[in-house]
Every structure is written in structure tokens, then in C-alpha cells.
Amino acid sequence: MATLVIAEHDNKTLKDATAKTVTAATQLGAGVHVLVAGQNCSAVAAAAAKLAGVGKVLLADDALYAKMVAETMETLILSLAGGYDAILAPATTNGKNYLPRVAAKLDTPQISEIVKVVAPDTFERPIYAGNAIQTVQAGAGKKVVSVRTTAFKPAAATGSAAVEKVAAASDPGTSKFVGEELSKSERPELTAAKIVISGGRGLQSAENFKLLEKIADKLHAAVGASRAAVDAGFVTNDYQVGQTGKIVAPDLYIAVGISGAIQHLAGMKDSKVIAAINKDEEAPIFQIADFGLVADLFKAIPELEEELTKLGA
């Protein structure tokens, strides 16, 4: 039986996380179908149909799914689950929200945040903030798996699957979307950016974070933060990188005024190259940084900006 991948999108664009989850799904060896649940999201379905390895796209286009509320996603996915051996979703806040409900209703354990498919029923996943890797084998029954997308390459857009409409499922009517406050930014998304520059408590204020934003704009980078910087109100929650925030693995991660606590490292230590700027030469971040600069960030960051300008960035 085939594998069902639940798409991550915002009704307009298909997120990179979906293409990466499709890659994990193809490694299970069976056919891959993608479910796009949303409202007025046919463009998303069309994009999903182009992903290599996808055999069919199921489109549930209904107001019920506009915000992927967990209770309605649960009934929809359960209405389709019979035809699948495995159900995969990216470990985004959406995936983390609805997927365990599906697993519970199917009476099957969920395997969270896999980073590797060892065999169709065996997966690797980090535990203890990434300080250990567990190899876990699913039992009989359907597999419900969330995927840490930084561990998989996106499927190429070389396919041409058919899009099939599916009916909306029942509405439990127990929860209602009230509103949202989304961060607006012209910069790339934190989890998809090739370069991330993150600031910590060392930045001291929201005002000072603008220093990082200037650099980010020159490098086409995303801006991230430590929990301490978010708790202090320098930036909003969606900037947090770490065990309990976002997991990132860009080509280059620049940590500025961040000490390097285990919980922060858990979110960025799989970056290809790590650079750190910290005034304390004993800061733990230097133990994992490829390039460390011991300096006062208030001197180093303006200098960095200047150098980048010289380089024509």
C-alpha cells in the first residue's frame, strides 16, 4: 500500500517542508500520494503534483481546512487512512498539532521527527535534545511518522501527477479559528534559508537586533534567535531556534551573542558551517563553531556590515 504525505502550505504556496517529506516517503519504497488540505489551494495541489516520486495528489479544498485546525484535519486524514500503510507529515507546528490525533485514533504509536529511513519500518530519530540517536522499529499496523525536514533533501519538481478532489470529512465543531498575527518579512524563511544569522541575550535589545537584520539583508539570510532573546522580547517567538523552537540546518549559521546552551545547539548543530561571535572565549558555542571570533559584537557587527559592503554585497 502507498504512503500518504500531508502537505504543508499556506493555501498559496507549497512549503519546502512538503518536498522534503516526500523524499522521506519515497524511501519507504511504496508509491507516494500527497494530501493537500486547505481552502482555495489548487495552486498548491498543482505544485505538489510536480514533485518527483508523487503518484497522485488528493485535494480537499474546503473552508474547514483553511487553517488546518487539528480536529478537522484528524477526521479528514482518518477518512483516507484506510488506503495507506504509512502516513507522513513534516514536523512543523501544523504537523505536530494534527498528526498525533491521527495516530491515537488509529491506535498506533507515532514516531516523531525522524532524521533517517533505515528500512521501510525502521527509522532514526534524535532524543534528549539530539544528544542521542534512537533507531526504532515500528510494529504491525499503520505507521504514523513525523519528519524532521532539515534531514532530507527536497524532491525535485520534475513530476507530473494527477490531482484528484476528495470530499471534506465531518466537522467535529469543537474549535474555531479566531485570528492570527504572522510575522511579515521579506527575508527567506528561517527553516529554508541557506544562511541564518541568530542573536542572543548579548544583543541586549530589540533595537540592536536591527544590526543583525542589516547583515541578513546583505547575505539574503534569515534571522533567528535564542530563547533568551525571545523571552526578553527582542524578537517574536517564531524566531526561536532550538530544541523547543525551530530546527535549522543552513549552509551557514552565524551565532552572535549566544552562549551555546544544549537546547540552542539542538536546533542548529547540523548546519554545514557554524560561525560564532562572542566576547567570552570560554563560551560553549566555540566548542562546535568552525570559525570563532572572540569580540564585542557591537564592534564586530558594524565592521562585518562594512566589509560586506566593500565586497559589494
Binding site: 487539528a70 534528549y128 517567538n237 570563532g292
Partner: protein
């Protein structure tokens, strides 16, 4: 700012001093008598302290938890805090802390009681219990206790599954509000602001419901010494999974637990210009 989420109960106190104080503090909960106040259930998990760096056992079967400091899962402290605040505001009448785990999980329940929960339920288990089994036990407890709101942590910092609350909600057929940033409780519903990838989202869920906590919902209190003593007299019911008819046999098989690839520290550079040059050489700029 930099709070330690642990060790707050480790101070030992002379019993006589404590007993003397206890008399003064045993006065009834001040929310008593509020007619439509709710019952809140808070599952609390005993986990490795967040400051401990774990090591994988040489035989690659698990991580080494021998003689490691254990504490309440930090997200569960936030859950207890939120529940106790509801009680202090007169919105909740009773806060019940539940833990599923070994005998020592009673310490975790005591921590919750010292923070202000009223009573505890310890479901004693041996070995690992998967989130689905935890959720099934919690469901049976909810069937018996009939809480209006269950507040769990969004994830336990050991297994990082981020499942239990959602599974419980599904098994009960209740709505959920995960990753809560702010809670406004009304008579028959809850308005919850949630931390999502793009920012914040507000949902309104009908009660009864399950809510899971995120980091910025509140800052948990430290239990005061008198409250720690008072907590010793609060009741903890002991149960087993069999009492709830739940089979906790693991459904997943752990084949191996291994060390992740180690990242080597690199070089220190002297100047910003050198940093840039190195990054260019590395091909990432």
C-alpha cells in the same frame, strides 16, 4: 532571567520548624465555594534535568540515567503554574496532578503539590511507557475525574515526542489547543493564543479541552518552604495501569541508541576580515 527549573525541592527542612508553620497555612483553598469553577488536570512527567548532558550507554541500548539528576519536565512546571493561577483567580476549584512512572515520580507530584496543586495520582509503571499508552491511561483518568481542562506540556525534554496531549484529546474526542502562549478561560470555552511557525494564532475551543504549554505561557513560581511542607500532607492516590485496563507493553522496538556524530570545534579567527575570508574559502558566502 536565567532561571533554573530544577532542584527547588532539594533543600531539607527541619521537621519541627515545618510543622509549626504548617498549622498556620493549612487553611482551606480560597476558591472554595465558587459555584461554576472548574477542575483542572495536569499530567507531570519526571525527566532528566534540563541541565544534564546525557551519555549513551556503551552497549548502545539506552542513555545512561544512573545517578543523573531528575526534575519535573519544564513544560509541565508551566502547566502546573497555569493551573494554579486559574485556581488563584477563582476560575478553577481543584487542580489534580498526575504522573505515570516509577515510584520516584511521586517526587514530581510533590513538586506540583508544593506549587499549589491539591492532590495527586501516581500511576506506577515499570520500564518505558510510550506516549500512546500514557494517553490511554490519562484518558481513563479523565473518564473518572471529569476535568474541564487538561494542561500538559508541549513536549517532554527527554523523548521530545510532542504527542501525548494531542493523543489524549483525540482519544477523548475533545478539542485541543497546543503550544499555548496565552489562555483566556471562559465558562464553556477557552480562547488560546498559540505559538506557531509563522507567529501567533488564536483558537477558541469548547470545554472540556486539552491545552499544551509553550515556553512563554508564564514563568513558573518556586515553591515556598511552607508550601513544600504543606504539600507533604496532600493526598497522592497510587494506581497501576491495570487499574485502568491499559496495556503498557511498548509497541515500538528500540533497536539501538547511539551517539550522534560529534562536531569538532574549529579555529579561532582574529578579525572580521579573516572570518569573511574563511567563510568564502568554505564556499558558504
Amino acid at each position: 532571567m536565567h532561571r533554573t527549573n530544577s532542584g527547588r525541592l532539594k533543600t531539607s527542612v527541619s521537621a519541627s520548624l515545618a510543622d509549626a508553620r504548617d498549622e498556620l497555612l493549612i487553611a482551606g483553598p480560597f476558591s472554595q465555594g465558587i459555584s461554576n469553577a472548574m477542575k483542572v488536570l495536569v499530567p507531570v512527567k519526571r525527566v532528566i534535568d534540563y541541565n544534564v548532558k546525557v551519555r549513551v550507554k556503551a552497549d548502545q541500548t539506552a542513555v545512561d540515567l544512573a545517578n543523573v539528576k531528575m526534575s519535573m519536565n519544564p513544560f509541565d512546571e508551566i502547566a502546573v503554574e497555569e493551573a494554579v493561577r486559574l485556581k488563584e483567580k477563582g476560575k478553577a476549584s481543584e487542580v489534580v496532578a498526575v504522573s505515570i512512572g516509577p515510584a520516584q515520580a511521586s517526587e514530581t507530584i510533590r513538586t506540583a503539590l508544593a506549587m499549589g496543586a491539591d492532590r495527586g495520582i501516581l500511576v506506577k509503571t515499570q520500564g518505558e511507557v510510550e506516549p500512546l499508552a500514557v494517553a490511554k491511561i490519562l484518558k481513563a483518568i479523565c473518564d473518572a475525574e471529569k476535568p474541564d481542562l487538561v494542561i500538559t506540556g508541549k513536549q517532554a525534554i527527554d523523548d521530545d515526542s510532542n504527542q501525548t496531549g494531542q493523543m489524549l484529546a483525540a482519544l477523548l474526542g475533545w478539542p485541543q489547543a497546543t503550544f499555548a502562549h496565552k489562555l483566556e478561560l471562559e465558562a464553556a470555552s477557552a480562547k488560546v493564543e498559540r505559538e506557531i511557525d509563522g507567529g501567533l494564532q488564536t483558537l477558541e475551543v469548547k470545554l472540556p479541552a486539552v491545552m499544551t504549554t509553550d515556553l512563554r505561557l508564564n514563568e513558573p513560581r518556586y515553591a515556598s518552604l511552607p508550601n513544600i511542607m504543606k504539600a507533604k500532607k496532600k493526598p497522592i492516590d497510587e494506581k497501576t495501569p491495570a487499574d485502568y485496563g491499559v496495556d503498557t507493553t511498548p509497541r515500538l522496538k528500540v533497536l539501538k541508541v547511539s551517539e550522534p556524530p560529534k562536531r569538532q570545534g574549529g579555529v579561532k579567527v582574529k578579525t572580521v576580515a579573516e572570518l569573511l575570508a574563511r567563510l568564502k574559502d568554505a564556499g558558504v558566502l
